[in-house]
């Protein structure tokens, strides 16, 4: 179990009678390799929960264990070590440091983990290549498109190979095309590398891409569904065939399932679009 959340509560005292019960007792268990979405209306506590898992905030009650480490039992000064290392974060607004280049941004968590110099640069270029942005390494965030910036953020989150990558509305600031690209990338990382993802989102497209959707309301888990036929646990080896089968929503034993609908549907949509384009172009071409 890569993440175990047990009876977590959080209350914010905003002064006077204004007390916000953000989390009212949340239990959750996540296995390695899961691609999970947490959905729910504003105020449901999903972002608060994400911040807890990300070690940016601490619960008032309950415990959270990440990859065997009880982060709630750690003294406050040890928390920063968990950030970036045990958990990586991707934000809606990308949150890249504007005065650092793409590769320097990716190096950032490494610097704070004590990895510097050539080693850091090498690893940073590695992950940038994985997200397809090696050629943009020396660019500043304001020189990148939204999709590119988010990919740099993904690379940064991957840098120290964390147990879990958390994403808070990763497609919130992106247009449809970039959103699809980013989701494809996350899915690929999940399938190929077995990287565990937990995404908080409103976007039903994002939700549809997930194996498992946890719905929250008023600080509690309302429902917890495994989408389609995707099993929660990755097979020991991923072959190209089994990877594709996952995308297509086929069970491990070969029987068909309905998982991966959104992903597959979008691929088909795109093919249709391309065909339309080709036909349009052919209209103006005389044959014969």
């Amino acid at each position: 179990m890569i993440l175990s959340i047990d009876r977590v509560k959080k209350t914010y005292d905003m002064g006077g009678e204004n007390v916000v019960h953000a989390l009212e007792g949340v239990d959750l268990e996540v296995e390695k390799g899961e691609f999970m979405a947490i959905m729910g209306p504003s105020g449901s506590g999903k972002s608060t929960l994400l911040n807890m898992i990300g070690c940016l905030d601490r619960p008032d009650a309950g415990s959270i264990a990440i990859d065997g480490v009880d982060v709630t039992a750690l003294p406050a000064r040890k928390l920063p070590e968990m950030r970036g290392r045990k958990v990586g974060f991707i934000f809606q607004t990308f949150n890249l440091v504007p005065t650092l280049t793409a590769v320097e941004n990716v190096e950032l968590p490494m610097r704070y983990a004590g990895i510097t110099g050539k080693k850091a640069r090498q690893r940073a270029m590695e992950v940038l290549a994985e997200v397809g942005l090696a050629d943009r390494a020396k660019h500043f965030p304001n020189e990148l498109s939204g999709g590119q910036a988010q990919r740099v953020a993904i690379a940064r989150a991957l840098a120290l190979e964390p147990a879990i990558i958390l994403a808070d509305e990763p497609t919130g600031q992106l247009d449809t095309k970039s959103s699809e690209m980013v989701m494809d990338m996350l899915r690929e990382l999940n399938l190929k590398k077995g990287q565990t993802f937990i995404l908080v989102t409103h976007d039903p497209i994002v939700g549809a891409a997930a194996d498992r959707v946890v719905r929250m309301r008023d600080g509690r888990v309302e429902s917890d569904e495994v989408a389609g036929a995707r099993t929660a646990v990755m097979p020991a080896e991923t072959t190209p065939e089994s990877g594709v089968a996952y995308s297509a929503g086929v069970r491990a034993d070969g029987s068909p399932g309905s998982g991966g609908n959104g992903h597959l549907e979008r691929q088909i949509e795109r093919l249709v679009e391309r065909l339309d384009e080709v036909i349009d172009n052919l209209d103006g071409v005389r044959v014969g």
């Binding site: 911040n51 990300g54 940016l56 905030d57 000064r77 920063p80 070590e81 950030r83 970036g84 290392r85 974060f89 934000f91 949150n95 890249l96 440091v97 504007p98 005065t99 950032l108 968590p109 610097r111 704070y112 983990a113 510097t116 110099g117 940064r156 120290l160």
Partner: protein
Amino acid sequence: MGYLRSTLKNMRRRKLRTSLTILGVVVGMLTLTMFGAFSQRMNMLVSGSLDSATSSVTVVPKGGSSMEAATGRTNGQYIDGATVTKIAAVSGVKRVTEVIDVPLKKNAGDKGPFSSSTIEGLDLEHGYPALADAQNWSLSSGRDLKAGDKKVVVIGSSVAGDLGKTTGERLTIRGEKYKIVGVLNQTMSTPDNRVYMSLSKARQILADDDPLLETTAVATSVLAVPKGGADIDKLATRIDKAVPDVQVYSPSDMEQQASSQMSLFNLIVYGIAFISLVVGGLSVINTMYMSVSERTREIGIKKAVGARTSDILREHLVESAVVGLAGATLGLLGGWLITSLVNNLTASGGNVLFAVTPLLAAAVLGIGLAIGTLAGILPALKAARLDPVIALRSE
């Protein structure tokens, strides 16, 4: 060291913010440099002029002060031959050396302790080495004066510079030509403004200048060299009792008077410097706080990817320390340029007003660094203690 490089990189990429922050420090440091250089120069002149009196008792005509005696101004009073004999007769006096000081330019008037050049007549026949040892006689060219020299002079570095003359050339004084046989190295004090010649020649000039003078067997001041082992202060007292119409200063008297005159002066200088430092420091605090405000989100991001409180604290402290040092460097350079310019302009009057010494430079740099660091502490603490979730939400 990696911190230093990334700090510099950050500063370069935020040019406007960095420049504004540094500017506040520069102004304070420039002021400190200029006032400090003035103070250093004053101190040098005083201590330089004291050198000649450190090992002997200085006797001047009544009505003169020790500063005047030390810097060679005379108020028209002299010590006559009879008095000199009396001084020599006091027990404990090994020998006396007579000194004549005459302005190089006739009727040059009173220009203050660092005034225009003075001719100093030295008792070459009776061994002036008492003076020579005390003063920083080191020649940049030529030779020292010796017994038997008549119409030759050794000139100080400022005189050489002002008149554009060097060893081997001729210097005209009161219509007579003297040969320059040596030029002294710069001492940053009174010897720079001196033209040294034989006592007898100096007496002639004095007599020509002052037609009321009845005899040339006088001195503008007398140094009484003590016998080995004699208590100089007690000797000074004895001379004072034995000899009428003179003022006697022992080395400690000279030092005391000089330092009390200097201390008020120094107090004012340091007071001004302190104020400019406070202003500089406040400027740094202000701009560093603004900087932290602007970068709140950035700090949140860094914390979210693993930065500890100490990491953020260190980053910001290093930056403000560099700001302090950079401001001090620029202020020092600026102050040095301005004071050099002023020195060049006033040098013709024999006045060198500023001395940017290595000690001053080190002090300015050190103070700049300290101010930068100290002023940066509070803003850095604020940055380090930001809650990452709140910080990430800002802007």
